[in-house]
């Protein structure tokens, strides 16, 4: 069987490989190379060594500020999204009537795209702030909390679904047994349920982590960095460097490589955690 299948290599893989080379392999290799070059289009690249990386960290670029802002945003949204999503999941797994309707509603925002959602919230938040004689771009903290609210609104439903799936897999016998042993519901939660859904927790934490860290559309739509780029996250910073001004494409590419490395480290962290857990079981 393997022998005959082997001959079909091109038929089975060629279309995917062609598209994959166009969309990923070639751009990725070019991207790494270009981060060491000065260029305005891909064709006129000139090797400049590490100059772009040095420039990327220079003060005027605001890259470190964006990194700090993004990290703070990510920390807060990971914690808040997961706490809220887990709480809702607990509520919805109590075998009460009509929970399906709530589940349907809570998950819905997740399907709306970042751009559409960002402008929807921009209008909402501005309408509310208007009553207090101020606006979303008046102060960076409005933009920051606006992004947090928006991210929570979008992601809670998604994470809740994963937690529900996890909680439903907890054997009822275990919970019954705990009850018979006289455990309070709080103790059941901490000692029985939580350890059983740790794999869901890992998944959710990393999903929110990488989604928050890579956030772009929502940031672009909600504040576009205003005021004075104080609400500009990493992805938007990179985008602005590329397309904002001619001559900084190399710096943008260098930032993108750094961004990629950070994301890769996060992903590797997840991988090793999951691996370790798999070994334990």
């Amino acid at each position: 069987m393997e022998k005959t299948l082997k001959k079909y290599f091109l038929i089975f893989t060629l279309p995917t490989l062609i598209a994959f080379s166009f969309a990923f392999i070639i751009p990725f290799i070019q991207g790494i190379y270009l981060s060491f070059c000065e260029f305005t289009t891909v064709k006129n690249a000139e090797f400049v060594g590490l100059a772009n990386y040095k420039l990327a960290f220079s003060e005027g670029q605001g890259f470190l500020y964006s990194l700090g802002f993004t990290t703070l945003f990510t920390l807060i949204s990971v914690v808040s999204i997961n706490l809220l999503a887990f709480t809702l999941a607990l509520f919805l797994t109590r075998k009460m009537k009509g929970t399906n309707v709530y589940r349907t509603i809570f998950f819905m925002p997740n399907l709306i795209g970042g751009i559409v959602l960002g402008y929807t919230w921009q209008q909402m938040i501005n309408a509310i702030l208007y009553q207090f004689e101020t606006t979303l771009v008046a102060d960076a903290k409005y933009g920051f909390w606006g992004l947090i609210i928006l991210m929570n609104w979008q992601m809670i439903g998604y994470m809740m679904i994963i937690y529900i799936a996890g909680l439903q897999n907890v054997p009822t016998e275990l919970i019954e047994a705990a009850k018979i042993d006289g455990a309070t519901s709080w103790q059941t939660l901490l000692k029985v349920k939580l350890p059983m859904v740790m794999s869901s927790v890992t998944i959710c934490v990393f999903l929110t982590l990488s989604n928050s860290f890579k956030l772009f559309d929502q940031n672009k739509a909600l504040t576009n960095g205003a005021p004075m780029n104080k609400t500009r996250m990493l992805a938007l910073n990179i985008y602005d460097t590329f397309y904002g001004k001619t001559g900084y494409e190399g710096v943008g590419q260098a930032k993108a490589v750094i961004f990629f490395l950070i994301v890769a480290v996060i992903a590797l962290g997840q991988l090793s955690l999951t691996r370790r857990r798999e070994v334990e079981h």
């Binding site: 080379s21 070639i26 606006t135 979303l136 008046a138 004075m228 397309y243 001559g247």
Partner: protein, 490 residues
């Protein structure tokens, strides 16, 4: 593991180099097809007929700079295609993003054939794409040849297509109502000829806004990012103009912002005597303030003669055509009694030098049509409201809207026009940062000293970044361009 990755990479490169072959062999088949498809945005039903002409005569792709006349340009494009069969595509960039959009479009395979630069700074950035227009009909027709953008080689690379003015637009009906009130500071607009008088009038009007039936003297000072060009560009032109005159310069590598206080004078007056609180300005767009003016909620708004179409276009506007007038922007600078409107141009047409010859010719023909055919001239004057500086337009062929009339009145009444020196402002980044600082200032997050600091440092930084290191102090704009061109030639 590593070795495996490497070999896959190699494999992928081989696959991709095979693809290069495939791609290029397909090209001749694909190109006319895609061209036909993209060119016919406006007239899709005639696709087939146009494909033929597109190949023979080239086509026009205009990258429009002014969102406020986007619809008019689409009409013009359709009319031209109707008249000549040549496809014209018009794309409009959102305000504040022209350079960004042009940059991504011009690098593409379907690049704009006609685009716009805003003066010497723009020419510097786009000179590789500017085609020499000397000897063309449109250049010959230019009444004042010195208005054109010329390169170091003497070529003509940008041709202005309109002259514009801006100042403070006021609603004369409201002003008259005020002058008739007891205790009015002055009795006619003619008496307002300096900042102190202006300020007294404005503040008195603001205190009587209920009696005047307005919500504030000035329409809101739009500071929404991207909507702040009336301040960081137009208003900022005034202090810069006076600083240039003091130093006999037409460009500066370093700006002292010596008239910073004067900018603050007028800016404070705007934001404190407005239809809304200063802290709300960050949500206001230009169209909001034009609507407030049109609906009679504000007596004044700073804008240019192009603003008429926006005022006229507001549903339920109450302002009468004959009451829409201009007055100069006073900031408290010595000798400003003789100052007129700010008049000039930042609208230069350039033809893409890297477009195909057929497309270039089609584009030049299109420009000629706009300034010489009866239909084209009608479009220029009545649809776009352009005061076109070409000999092909006679006395009657001037825009007849109230603001254009006011502009011509000011040109003839002996006042000194303020030049548009903002065409030498270093970059869009500089302007954006200035605008953002003004927003922070009106929200009370920044002091005026900090704003001033940003203007001075960002100006110097961006000047250095855009013109290179060789700029000496106080070189003339044109010389800077020349130097730049020479260094490139070397």
């Amino acid at each position: 593991m590593k070795r495996k990755m490497l070999s896959t990479l190699l494999c992928a490169t081989i696959v991709s180099s095979m693809l290069v072959g495939c791609g290029s062999s397909k090209e001749p088949v694909e190109t006319p097809q895609t061209q036909g498809e993209t060119n016919t945005t406006e007239t899709e039903n005639k696709e087939n007929a146009e494909d033929e002409t597109a190949k023979a005569e080239g086509s026009v792709y205009y990258m429009n700079f002014k969102p406020e006349v986007e619809e008019q340009w689409q009409e013009i494009a359709a009319a031209y295609t109707e008249a000549t069969g040549v496809p014209v595509k018009v794309v409009t960039a959102a305000s504040g993003t022209y350079e960004e959009v042009l940059k991504s479009e011009i690098a593409g395979s379907n690049a704009p054939t006609l685009f716009q630069i805003n003066g010497p700074i723009g020419y510097n950035a786009w000179k590789d794409y500017c085609y020499d227009l000397s000897g063309t009909e449109i250049y010959e027709a230019l009444t004042d040849k010195s208005l054109a953008i010329t390169g170091a080689d003497g070529g003509v690379y940008g041709i202005p297509y309109t002259v514009e003015s801006y100042g403070i637009i006021y609603n004369d009906a409201i002003m008259q109502k005020y002058f008739e009130m007891d205790g009015a500071v002055v009795e006619s607009v003619d008496e307002i000829n300096n900042f102190d008088t202006f300020k007294a009038v404005v503040e008195d009007m603001q205190s009587k806004k209920e009696e005047l039936g307005i919500e504030g003297v000035f329409a809101s000072t739009s500071l929404l990012p991207g909507e702040d060009w009336r301040w960081h560009t137009h208003l900022a032109n005034i202090p810069v103009y006076y600083e240039y005159s003091d130093k006999y310069a037409t460009d500066l590598a370093q700006l002292d912002f010596s008239y910073s206080e004067n900018f603050k004078n007028i800016f404070d007056l705007y934001i404190n005597n407005s239809t809304c609180a200063p802290t709300l300005l960050g949500s206001k767009a230009v169209s909001d303030s034009m609507a407030e003016f049109a609906l009679g909620q504000a007596a004044m708004v700073q804008n240019g003669n192009w603003g008429w179409s926006q005022i006229a276009g507001v549903d339920g506007n109450v302002v009468e055509e004959e009451n829409v007038k201009f007055m100069p922007i006073y900031t408290g600078i010595e000798g400003e009694e003789e100052q007129g409107l700010c008049t000039g141009t930042e609208n230069f047409w350039c033809v893409n030098a890297q477009a195909s010859e057929a497309d270039r010719q089609a584009t030049i023909d299109f420009m000629n049509w706009l300034i010489s055919s009866a239909e084209g001239k009608d479009m220029m004057v009545n649809k776009l409201g352009n005061a076109a500086p070409f000999s092909t337009f006679n006395e009657e062929e001037k825009p007849a809207d109230p603001l254009a009339k006011e502009m011509f009145r000011f040109m003839e009444n002996g006042k000194i026009s303020v030049n548009w020196n903002f065409t030498t402002f270093p970059s869009q980044d500089f302007k954006d940062d200035f605008g953002a600082a003004l927003l922070e200032y009106s929200n009370g997050n920044m002091t005026w000293d900090e704003v001033e600091e940003i203007v001075v440092t960002r100006w110097a930084e961006e000047k250095e970044a855009t013109t290179g290191n060789e700029t000496e102090n106080e070189t003339q704009a044109e010389e800077t361009v020349n130097n730049e061109a020479e260094t490139v030639a070397e």
